[in-house]
């Protein structure tokens, strides 16, 4: 708001004062929201680090058992067991609300399966296949968990960022500009008052003469 566009009137001043009050209140609330979100984020962060760590472990284990399965059964055996059509892990995306941020809640059908429910026959395979399948089922569970939590983090971060941007805008742009305008009007009004007074005095002096 360029200063020259401002009409230095009393009503404008009242308007500005109201705007400043509003902005300051908004600023406080947004700051609280930002702090709240960051607090919420910290909670999720610890959890996210844990699930990431867990995910890395599970992946390492899955890769290792796969190497073992390849060693024992050969890629041929593993591939033919993996061709099996089995029950597909189904996931359901629901949502929940953290301080106005919609985050996903992922529900999944059971990933772990018993020997009977796996797609391969027990009699034609060996234990390493069981171990590999179990390792990957656990990995998939960890992935589902990570997906939920990492999306939550992304959403929270988005919200934190936009809140922060708004807080900063209020703090460093909107409020200072409004205050500046207010000061300008005040100054102009004072000046006008002084001019008026001076003029009155002049008139009075002339009429007295």
């Amino acid at each position: 708001m360029a200063l020259r566009d401002i009409k230095p009137t009393r009503s404008e001043l009242i308007n500005l004062k109201r705007k400043i009050r509003l902005s300051e209140r908004g600023y406080k609330i947004l700051k609280m929201k930002r702090d709240g979100l960051i607090l919420e984020f910290f909670k999720v962060l610890t959890e996210a680090k844990d699930t990431r760590g867990d995910l890395l472990d599970k992946y390492a284990k899955a890769v290792e058992t796969m190497a073992l399965a390849n060693t024992v059964e050969g890629a041929i055996g593993v591939k033919s067991a993996a061709f099996s059509v089995a029950e597909i892990p189904e996931i359901k995306l629901k949502s929940k609300n953290i301080m106005g941020v919609i985050v996903p809640e992922i529900e999944s059908s059971k990933v772990k399966k018993s020997l009977v429910d796996r797609g391969y026959g027990v009699l034609g395979t060996s234990t390493v296949i069981d171990e590999t399948a179990t390792a990957f089922e656990e990995l998939v569970e960890a992935i589902i968990e990570s997906a939920e939590i990492e999306t939550t983090m992304k959403r929270l971060l988005d919200e934190i960022e936009s809140t922060k941007r708004r807080v900063n805008a209020l703090e460093f742009k909107v409020i200072p500009e409004l205050t500046e305008a207010q000061d300008f009007i005040k100054m102009r009004l004072d000046e006008m008052e002084r001019e008026e007074l001076f003029r009155l005095k002049k008139i009075k002096a002339r009429s007295a003469a």
């Binding site: 099996s84 059509v85 797609g119 390493v128």
Partner: protein
């Protein structure tokens, strides 16, 4: 090539050939040496020995570790077919029925590959035509465009009745696993019926198969124990061994390890298996148990074949040993590729 007649002559001939072939298999100390080699060195050794021809033939279509694996499988299939050719009379019949196990694996791979939309070439790569269904027949099956057509094309084969009876259920539950188990059960039932049909030498064939069934059932019991779910083990039980289906189910519900071993020990009469179980008082990992059971089984088979040097035993022992040679070489190559430690690989070798 000997005429297909009975009589001791051809038996002695073929069993001697088996002994010669068996002697040519890679020995324990060679495996030990190979464990300390790098993958290229192992590849070179495989390419220079019995597997040279396959490596050369396949080198244009495959590379690296896949080349080794496919070459090993093809060699195994070829070797089995050769054994069938030189085996006379009833021994041939037994050998052929024994090798039908590979048909199950191949047909299921095709069915699964097809239902998952895997490319023909990819399916073909992982077949091991070591059974009665030859390469041409398997190619024909791969070319069929539906599961039903594949099964129809198998009409007249041993596996057909089970396939036809079970395919409906398999489609409904979306898994071939029950069908696969059933095929193996039927395979053993067929083999037993054949061994018992009064053909000369059937008794010895039967004893060999029974050992196999016992080992399979014990392995399955250990696998079921490792699994955290409670499940109905009926479909995984193979009849014809020392365990009855009731024994099997009862053993499966025993929670305590020691109790389970004791109960199993009471049922198993075979001496080597008993002493094997005695060593299992302490808990071990399932695949260690599985590997040692395989070793026990092979040792026992070897012993049986020495007792009956002119029977089906030496042939079957050779088939098994050859199979494990292929498995071992594959394990060495795959293990080295995945950078597993030598000790780790050696745990999975059958020597």
């Amino acid at each position: 090539m000997p005429a297909i007649t009975g009589g001791p002559g051809p038996y002695i001939y073929v069993c001697t050939r088996m002994r010669v072939r068996k002697a040519k298999l890679i020995q324990k100390d060679e495996y030990q040496r190979m464990l300390n080699m790098s993958l290229p060195e192992i590849t070179r050794i495989i390419g220079e020995t019995a597997y040279k021809q396959e490596i050369d033939e396949l080198a244009t279509s495959f590379k690296g570790i896949d080349l080794i694996e496919v070459a090993l499988s093809w060699n195994l299939a070829k070797e089995y077919q050769k054994i069938l050719e030189i085996t006379p009379g009833t021994l041939k019949q037994f050998t052929r029925s024994y090798l039908r196990r590979w048909d199950i694996q191949n047909v299921l791979t095709i069915l699964r590959g097809k239902t998952q939309g895997i490319k023909h070439g990819k399916i073909k790569e992982i077949l091991i035509p070591a059974g009665s269904l030859g390469r041409a027949m398997l190619d024909k099956l791969i070319a069929e465009d539906s599961v039903d057509r594949i099964i129809e094309a198998l009409r007249g084969e041993r596996m057909y009745p089970v396939l036809a009876a079970k395919i409906g259920e398999a489609k409904e539950i979306g898994s071939f696993s029950k069908m696969e188990n059933e095929l193996y059960r039927q395979f053993y039932a067929d083999v037993i019926a054949e061994a018992k049909s009064g053909i000369k030498g059937g008794e010895l064939y039967l004893s060999f198969i029974r050992l196999d069934i016992d080992v399979m059932n014990i392995k399955t019991l250990f696998r079921l124990r490792a699994d955290t779910f409670e499940e109905d083990p009926h479909e995984m039980f193979i009849a014809g061994g020392v365990l009855t289906v009731n024994d099997f189910v009862r053993l499966n519900v025993i929670k305590d390890h020691g109790e389970f071993i004791d109960a199993l020990r009471m049922k198993v009469k075979q001496k080597t298996l008993v002493s094997f179980l005695d060593e299992l008082k302490e808990k071990k990992k399932v695949h260690d148990i599985e590997m040692s059971l395989t070793r026990v089984q092979l040792d026992q088979m070897e012993r049986m074949s020495k007792l009956h040097p002119f029977s089906v035993h030496p042939i079957l022992v050779y088939l098994e040993k050859k199979k494990y040679e292929v498995f071992n070489l594959r394990a060495l190559a795959r293990g080295k590729e995945s950078k597993l430690a030598s000790e780790r690989i050696s745990e999975h070798l059958v020597m």
